[in-house]
Amino acid sequence: MDSQSLRWGYFSRMGIRRLYGQCKGGDSVTKGFMKRGPCALAIALLIPLFFVLNVAPKPVNAEGEASNLAAVSSAPALSPIEQALADLSSENAETRSAAVALLIEKGDASLIPKLDEIRATADRLVRQAIKPVVDLLKNRANLTSELPDYRRSAASDLASTGRREAIVWLQAAAAKEEVWWVRYTMEESANLLEIRSGDFAAQQIAIKKLGELRSQNSVSILKELIEAGKAAEATEEQKTLMSAASGAILEIDAWSTKATIIETIFRGISLSSILLIMSLGLAVVFGLMGVINMAHGELMMIGAYATFITQQAFIALLPPEHFDWYFPVSLPLAFLASFGVGWVLEATIIRFLYGRLLETLLATWGVSLILMQAARVYFGDLTAVIAPQALRGGAQVMVGVYLPYNRIFIILLSIVCVVGIYYLLFNSNLGLRVRAVTQNRNMSACLGIPTRKVDSYTFAFASGLAGIAGWALTMVGNVDPGLGQNYIVDSFMVVVTGGVGKLAGTIWASLGIGGLNKVIEPFSGAVYGKVFILIGVILFLQWRPSGLFAAKGRSADA
């Protein structure tokens, strides 16, 4: 009983709002359709009801909402629509299409549940008849949604329906729209519909407009117009359209080249930042300590799993509205988890192997296999990390250039990491000691630097960096036991190309490899892109065996 009244309060309010809008004539399509008399009457009846039942409104499922709505506003004026709804299931194709036309013209989103109901029991023909109606009505309602993404989706979907009725709605929505990207899509869609209209003057304007909008979506239809204009039996009008269309395509293509260049640069930087953030820790261990750490990838995996565990803890312990906070919270945890494992690894295995490059390689490879299989046994494969809302989707910075947030985030993170490492190595006491031990271990020991401690901190710190990389990578890839293996080869490639022991080398090498990869890939495909990069690195190392930035001077031989 109680929940019933709650529902009624909500529906009656909704009903009033809708009726009020219609009576004021705000809704141009239903304006002539609804008589003002019954409207006022209905409102007069409903207002007291609304006040009586106005308890905290609660969202309910859409189906119940609309059927109630229909009950509230069931004025006799609705009957043509009801008639049309009945006609939809008719055997006669003409009756059906007439009903469809009527529903598109006069219906609104409240009809959707009813249509869905019909659809559920209908056969294929009826379903096909209903689909455009539902699409149009839904999208029309979504044009005024509160979420920009919905408005944009609705606008682009309306373009693909090919119904002229939508042009007016799109233009009206565009006039009120504040988000430029949404407005852009609305205008684009309206013009795309206009171009198909067959009205010569409107088509000319639309073509010009689409060219100005640099609309990539219009290229296919513009090409069709050009084809039509080239045909032997083309009319004068078609020829005019053809020249206009080719002008527009030129404009669009020029812009698209520009956009592609910008996007390629961004992708290159993004890939580079991922490479960089993976190889930083490796560069520290390999470069400064002379240890080939094959378990570096698994330390990343540990960071990723720490993120996953934090997420699960948030899901289990905290209310869902705090969920997105798991991501920042898991940063220190990922760092500490990998830091701890790295520290233990150094204390139990690595420290016996300093100066024996090949043995470190084998031992750490063994460790990596153990860690990997352990993760597989313990976690299995139920390990998805859900990106926080802020890192989903992307920003449309200009027409044709769309930058995903997660990539922007990783680029920023890698910059922060590089700055942090530089600060730590060149501006702090610890960094001074690390550099001293790297240059001359015995002399540093003589001067009272605890080289054991420095080793252990450096290794643990580098492991922590791997943990951060793993944390960040949960945003682009998956969390699974093989995570480390996917990246370890690339990381080594970057470190070796950059020159062992040089951070600047690592940075430049990741930029070079990442950038080159993204420049080559569009032409060669992903498989050969990788092959070309490997060949390039091999040739490069033939030319400069010690990498981009070779260590010089006395320390080079150490």
Partner: protein, 457 residues
């Protein structure tokens, strides 16, 4: 090594026994562990003996079957479930009295996702353990690697995964889909008005034999149906590819103007970065739906499904299929995983290959009973033909002569909870065609009137 394995399996069945320990304190538990382990060992032994005696009493020595699925390495994530379901089927059969009154004994080996090891383990199963039938393999390359072993030693393999076709061996029964039972109907659906009348197709796959062959067939089919070559794009990525920026950018350009769909044969761990990037670049299932042939419920368990909702997949079975026998099957599988303390226990899901592996065991059982013997592979093989079975997803039928299975095709839409909503279902069963009518119209596969692959007139 081997005895260890089979003992492990026996122990699995007995894990219910020591459940009384849960009440005692941890220290006591630790103290008792030794004794308990010894006890379990003895119990296992006794149980075994009892089983053995019983089975002898019933109708003869147990029938040995082999299970050849990777339990470690990269493919373990997918293949372990198949081992589990085969063991479950064996348990069910044994409980119901076995095959011809004889108990079934499984020999489980672990080829560790290593293709050469697959051949080695297959040889071991056939020659050393002398199993009557083997249930196994997932990837096409592992199947290709064991094929010579089975052909040379006249073994019998039930292969439960959808594959690229172009194979016709009398020693393999394919209970998964051929290309014309999965990829072809899926693309035909996308081209139909009901599916959205798509006109442009982006064929994207991982670079190995299954995607390459499937896409070769699809391309031939699309061209035959009048799709211009300019509207078909084909692209491959290496295994474990992680960076899908460029490809998603290309798809976006390709899809501009609408009417484009992506046909994905991407396999394994590349799927997550691909779907994530796809969503993050602002592409939606409405602009360009991804139709996937390698993403099933078991893979979706490990993914964040927000990026996948609304995309499509084509299979012959989904966990959500609404049949009474499927409800029982799903419940049994979950209960089995829980009872045997398998990882993830009750939250395990079933999917197409799991179902195909499951009914494979029953088809074999029916065939053995029809043939009246397990000793002759050839007699059992002849008995498999035309076998019908009420599988969880609906009745299936083994083909009369080409070693494949008649199955229904279902297009599913991915839901938020990692399950599928069926949006289209083929009318009746689709006849399998190992040789595609589009790429190899002149070839056929028939082991009754011909000797395997033959030239059609």
């Amino acid at each position: 090594m081997e005895t260890n394995k089979s003992q492990e399996i026996e122990n699995v069945n007995l894990t219910e026994a020591p459940s009384e320990e849960h009440g005692s304190s941890r220290r006591e538990f630790l103290g008792q562990t030794g004794r308990v382990a010894a006890g379990v060992g003895v119990a296992a032994l006794l149980g075994n003996l009892g089983n053995y005696a019983l089975s002898y009493a019933a109708g003869g020595p147990p029938i040995k079957i082999g299970i050849l699925h990777s339990l470690s390495g990269t493919m373990a994530i997918s293949e372990v479930s198949l081992r589990d379901v085969v063991l479950m089927a064996v348990e069910e059969i044994n409980k119901a009295g076995g095959v011809m009154g004889r108990q079934v004994e499984s020999v489980v080996v672990d080829p560790a996702s290593n293709w050469d090891l697959f051949a080695e383990k297959a040889k071991q199963l056939l020659l050393q353990d002398k199993v009557s039938v083997v249930f196994g393999c997932w990837t096409s390359v592992s199947r290709k690697s064991v094929l010579p072993v089975f052909e040379k030693n006249n073994g019998m393999l039930f292969y439960p995964v959808q594959y690229e076709g172009e194979e016709c061996s009398k020693n393999v029964f394919y209970t998964g889909a051929a290309v014309n039972q999965q990829a072809q109907p899926a693309v035909e659906y996308l081209m139909s008005p009901e599916g959205g009348s798509y006109k442009k197709f982006y064929l994207l796959g991982t670079d190995y034999v299954y995607p390459r062959t499937t896409n070769k067939i699809l391309r031939a089919m699309l061209l035959a149906k009048g799709v211009p070559a300019g509207n078909i794009a084909e692209e491959y990525t290496p295994f474990h590819h992680q960076d899908y920026q460029t490809i998603c950018g290309k798809i976006k350009k390709f899809a501009a103007g609408g009417g484009a769909a992506v046909i994905s044969t991407i396999n394994g761990d590349s799927n997550v970065p691909f779907y994530k990037e796809f969503g993050n670049q602002g592409l939606r299932a409405e602009d360009a739906p991804i139709m996937a042939f390698s993403v099933a419920e078991d893979e979706l368990r490990g993914m964040d499904t927000t990026a996948l909702v609304g995309h499509l997949a084509a299979w012959n079975y989904y966990q959500s299929v609404d049949t009474p026998q499927n409800k029982t099957f799903v419940a049994n599988f979950k209960a089995y995983c829980k009872r045997n303390n398998l990882p993830d226990g009750e939250s395990r899901v079933t999917d197409d290959p799991i179902e195909a592996a499951y009914f494979g065991v029953y088809v074999w059982k029916q065939a053995v009973e029809k043939a009246g013997t397990v000793d002759s592979v050839d007699k059992v093989r002849m008995a498999v033909y035309n076998q019908k079975f009420l599988a969880p997803g609906g009745t299936i039928m083994m083909d009369c002569c080409n070693q494949h299975t008649h199955k229904p095709v279902i297009i599913g839409e991915i839901l938020k909870d990692g399950q599928f909503k069926s949006v289209w279902r083929s009318k009746g069963l689709v006849k399998p065609e190992p040789w595609s009518e589009f790429t190899n119209p002149e070839k056929g596969c028939d082991w009754i009137t011909h000797q395997g692959t033959y030239q059609k007139k």
